[in-house]
């Protein structure tokens, strides 16, 4: 495999583990430190009482005799088990059996590398398990082959109010992506729509050169120039760059992409936005993008961009950051973990995170793609398709209303690691379908930072919030540990989560409006168009005349872009109704 792929995985795993650490914290916000109050009937119990009237569909109803449910899902190396437990034998599986009467067993599991292949083989063989974790394109593939159960009715009847609420946090878009011809064929886990790109700058360099934090994009340009020309590291050599950039001009190439800079110009790479006339248009070919490239070209000419950026992928640029050659870049929320922790450890680089800024008085918006990150499908002919919905109901219910005991048993268990210490087992991962409130994390951040200020963690309850609190406290007393620095840069005041919180508060996102399937022309022409884009954009930054961009736009249209636009707009017309 390529190092690009490895890195993509690495970043994904990092991002996931980081966000999982905090997101699951959302549940602990509701943990009551003293669970001595009169226990309120949980939805489960309340529902159990109602279930005497069989006509009513009960989201938590228990089957009289256990139903068998065979599932295929992704289980990676981050899944840890208590001694004697396994993916087939754990507290969640017992809970499903006890509460719902669902006997969940795994037909097979595989890790990220092997799962897609194994799933393709399974689909090709035609012998599919009752419940499967798949990706978007496979939903279409399976639905086209008429292999999937129609979940429309099951979802309408059995999804709990809490599940429906979580499902609709993104405006129901992820749910729509699981529909074909109005029928629901999969349960999606909606992806986060919190913008992720922000600006990272070395505050120590800013201070050294007497510069202020950036308020506008013009400030960013000034900083970039100063960083490249005024010797911010003070070694007397011209060995620093203004802004860190890597070779790909594509969405989600992070860190060191141009997405954040483009947002400042109101241009959005690889994103379908509204054209103001009731249709959609591809932002990559709009005049705003021309300005972005012109700006980059100027910065390259001025020595603010590495002459070699065209051959450097993000891992190579990481090295430059750690070596102290780069003082500013656009990166994702998890950048403090990689590469900034190393940079801090190396020369105490004081990296700070800032929201992206705009070239004019319109705020800079960041593109997000509402979508499902995982899809769960049920085999056609499986007698109890609603069982899958019930699994999702139960997780949504438990993660919302955890008690101290439940947290330990069903969310995160702390066990002896055999060396006298404790290690945390992420029990929540055993539940197969987990919908989350991606924005709940920000309330928790506020709680935690308040507690750090007051020194009183009593409002935090148990679980992750308390753990985060303790990590932040550690930074206050011990300013030598890179891990403590990382926690502070992520969770602390002014940290990356607070930048994201500001994005949410100020609604600084713009939706990628196209979430339909890969169209026919896309599958045939998109890679050609993308290559053209990479080639032309790179050459313009390197100094080719900007008219190349105009030529690119007309080429793009002629080589299939126009057809794709038409397909996208036809699709948009059907969903607007």
């Amino acid at each position: 495999m390529s190092n690009m792929t490895i890195q993509k995985w690495a970043s994904a795993v990092l991002a996931l583990s980081l966000s999982a650490a905090v997101i699951t914290g959302c549940s602990s916000a509701n943990v009551k430190p003293n669970a001595t109050e009169a226990p309120q009937p949980s939805p489960t119990e309340a529902a159990a009482e109602e279930s005497e009237s069989p006509a009513e569909a009960d989201p938590f109803g228990k089957y009289d005799s256990p139903v068998q449910l065979k599932m295929a899902r992704l289980v990676d190396t981050t899944f840890k088990f208590k001694p004697g437990e396994s993916i087939d034998n754990n507290d969640w599986n017992k809970l499903f059996l006890d509460r719902l009467g669902i006997d969940l067993k795994y037909a097979w599991t595989a890790n990220q590398q092997q799962y897609p292949q194994k799933m393709n083989v399974t689909i090709a063989s035609g012998d599919i398990p009752d419940l499967m974790q798949v990706w978007g394109p496979q939903v279409s593939q399976l639905a086209d082959a008429d292999s999937l159960a129609d979940l429309t009715e099951a979802y309408e009847k059995y999804a709990s109010p809490r599940l429906k609420e979580l499902m609709n946090l993104d405006g129901g878009i992820a749910l729509n992506t699981a529909k074909r011809d109005g029928k629901l064929y999969a349960i999606p886990e909606p992806a986060s729509t919190v913008p992720n790109t922000m600006l990272f700058i070395r505050k120590d360099w800013l201070d050294k050169l007497g510069l202020d934090e950036p308020k506008t994009l013009q400030d960013v340009f000034a900083i970039s120039e100063a960083f490249a020309t005024q010797d911010p590291d003070g070694n007397g050599k011209k060995d620093t760059y203004g802004i860190g950039l890597q070779k790909d001009f594509s969405k989600n190439k992070v860190p060191f992409g141009i997405e954040g800079l483009a947002s400042g110009f109101h241009a959005y790479l690889d994103t379908w936005i509204q054209d103001g006339k009731g249709g959609l248009t591809q932002s990559t070919i709009l005049p705003e993008m021309r300005d972005v490239l012109l700006q980059l070209q100027e910065m390259y000419k001025g020595g603010q961009i590495d002459k070699e950026f065209g051959v450097k992928d993000s891992s190579k640029v990481n090295q430059d950051v750690v070596a102290g050659r780069i003082g500013m870049f656009y990166g994702p929320q998890w950048s403090p973990a990689l590469p900034l922790k190393d940079s801090w450890a190396n020369d105490k680089a004081d990296w700070r995170s800032y929201g992206v800024v705009s070239i004019d008085d319109k705020p800079a918006l960041l593109p997000v793609k509402p979508n499902g990150q995982n899809y769960f499908v049920v085999k056609k002919g499986y007698p109890n398709p609603e069982a899958a919905i019930k699994l999702a109901n139960l997780f949504a219910d438990i993660s919302l209303n955890v008690t101290e005991e439940n947290f330990n048993k069903y969310m995160k268990s702390s066990i002896d690691d055999g060396n006298g210490g404790k290690s945390v087992i992420e029990v929540f991962k055993y539940a197969p379908i987990r919908l989350q409130n991606h924005e709940a994390v920000f309330e928790n951040m506020k709680l935690i930072n308040d507690a750090v200020k007051s020194g009183d963690p009593s409002q935090l309850g148990v679980g992750d919030n308390l753990a985060s609190y303790e990590r932040l406290k550690k930074w206050e007393t011990d300013k030598t540990d890179p891990n403590a620095w990382q926690d502070w840069a992520l969770l602390g005041e002014g940290g990356t989560y607070s930048v994201q919180e500001m994005y949410v508060r100020e609604n600084r996102k713009i939706n990628d409006e196209y979430w339909g399937p890969t169209t026919e022309t896309m599958s045939k022409k998109q890679s050609t168009l993308d290559k053209k884009k990479e080639e032309v954009f790179t050459s313009i930054v390197l100094g080719a005349p900007i008219e190349e961009f105009d030529k690119f736009v007309s080429d793009w249209k002629a080589l299939g872009g126009d057809e794709i636009s038409k397909e996208v707009n036809d699709w948009y017309a059907t969903i607007k109704q």
């Binding site: 495999m1 390529s2 190092n3 490895i6 393709n120 689909i123 090709a124 035609g126 394109p137 593939q141 399976l142 086209d144 082959a145 292999s147 070779k247 790909d248 001009f249 590495d306 002459k307 070699e308 065209g310 051959v311 450097k312 891992s315 190579k316 890969t518 896309m522 599958s523 045939k524 998109q526 890679s527 050609t528 993308d530 290559k531 990479e534 080639e535 954009f537 790179t538 050459s539 390197l542 080589l559």
Partner: protein
């Protein structure tokens, strides 16, 4: 009487055949598992070629997928990038084949002339070590070594008073960089087979040559090289099959949009098409196209080797 004799003879031949079969059948039995594996894993999958002519969908399988004939081939050949990719593939692969033949032969002969065993062994081991490194690792190392800013190669070039060369970002240099780095990685490995061939030459020939007054150079020219010829013909013929394999791992890890013009090969093109949407049929069509070209070239070179060297490979 004649008839009787003939009959007897045929009977004898038949009996001989039978007894030979009896003596040999354990050997045949031993070949059977290998034969089965070849059948199951090499011949059976060729049925999959049918995918190249279908709008293949795994859910529908070979039998129910729609038949589209040459559509995928037309699609590939009409791709705007295909011509340049084909040219780049051919250009890079040909250079690799030639260099990958000439250099190892040269090195093998030189090594053969080295008297000190420990020196010969050390050199041999050192030069074939890079073969075991993957291109992912090497790409990272090469990007550093060839860097225009800090790379050691360009520092040497600059210390000689020359302009630094952008090996991985300049379209004029990139194909040669690819060939050179590939050669560096694999020439040591290539010498092994030629060294073995030299070892196989009858020492009597050299002794006779010495008696005839031939010096080292003449010995090399008239004994070593002709002695190696069958192996050279074999490797050359087989390597011709690679004329459309310019090395996906290597190029994918080393190229960038700056050098798409000179470095984009068929495999990387197909990879990008495949990435956007899993188009199995297109992949199968390209695979079939490449196999056909290889097949034709190997057949031709086989015939040439026989015609000029009187040498049968198979």
């Amino acid at each position: 009487m004649d008839i009787a004799v003939e009959k007897k003879q045929t009977e004898a031949v038949g009996a001989k055949k039978r007894s030979r079969w009896r003596a040999d059948y354990p050997l045949h039995l031993m070949v059977l598992p290998g034969l089965l594996i070849v059948l199951v894993y090499h011949y059976l999958p060729t049925v999959g070629i049918v995918m190249a002519f279908q709008e293949y969908s795994p859910a529908k399988g070979f039998f129910r997928s729609e038949w589209v004939g040459w559509e995928h081939f037309e699609y590939i050949f009409k791709l705007p990038d295909f011509k340049s990719a084909l040219y780049n593939t051919f250009f890079i692969a040909t250079m690799k084949i030639v260099a990958g033949q000439v250099v190892p032969i040269f090195i093998a002969i030189l090594l053969n002339e080295v008297g000190k065993t420990y020196f010969k062994r050390t050199v041999q081991t050192l030069i074939y070590l890079p073969h075991f490194l993957s291109w992912v690792i090497l790409a990272g190392i090469l990007t550093d070594i060839l860097s225009i800013n800090y790379g050691i190669v360009n520092q040497i070039i600059q210390s000689l008073g020359l302009e630094p060369i952008y090996f991985l970002g300049d379209n004029n240099w990139f194909p040669y960089t690819i060939v050179m780095t590939d050669l560096w990685k694999d020439f040591g490995w290539g010498t092994i087979i030629f060294l073995a061939a030299i070892t196989g030459i009858n020492p009597n020939l050299y002794e006779a040559a010495v008696v005839d007054g031939a010096n080292r150079w003449k010995q090399t020219l008239h004994i070593t090289l002709p002695g190696m010829m069958p192996i050279i013909a074999l490797t050359a013929t087989l390597s011709l099959g690679n004329v459309l394999n310019a090395g996906f791992d290597q190029i994918f890890n080393l190229y960038s949009p700056m050098v798409y013009k000179s470095g984009d090969i068929i495999d990387t093109l197909v990879y990008r098409i495949g990435l956007v949407d899993a188009q199995f049929s297109v992949g199968a069509a390209v695979g079939l196209f490449k196999s056909l070209v290889s097949f034709v070239l190997i057949t031709v070179s086989y015939a040439l080797a026989y015609k000029y060297l009187r040498y049968r490979i198979f």
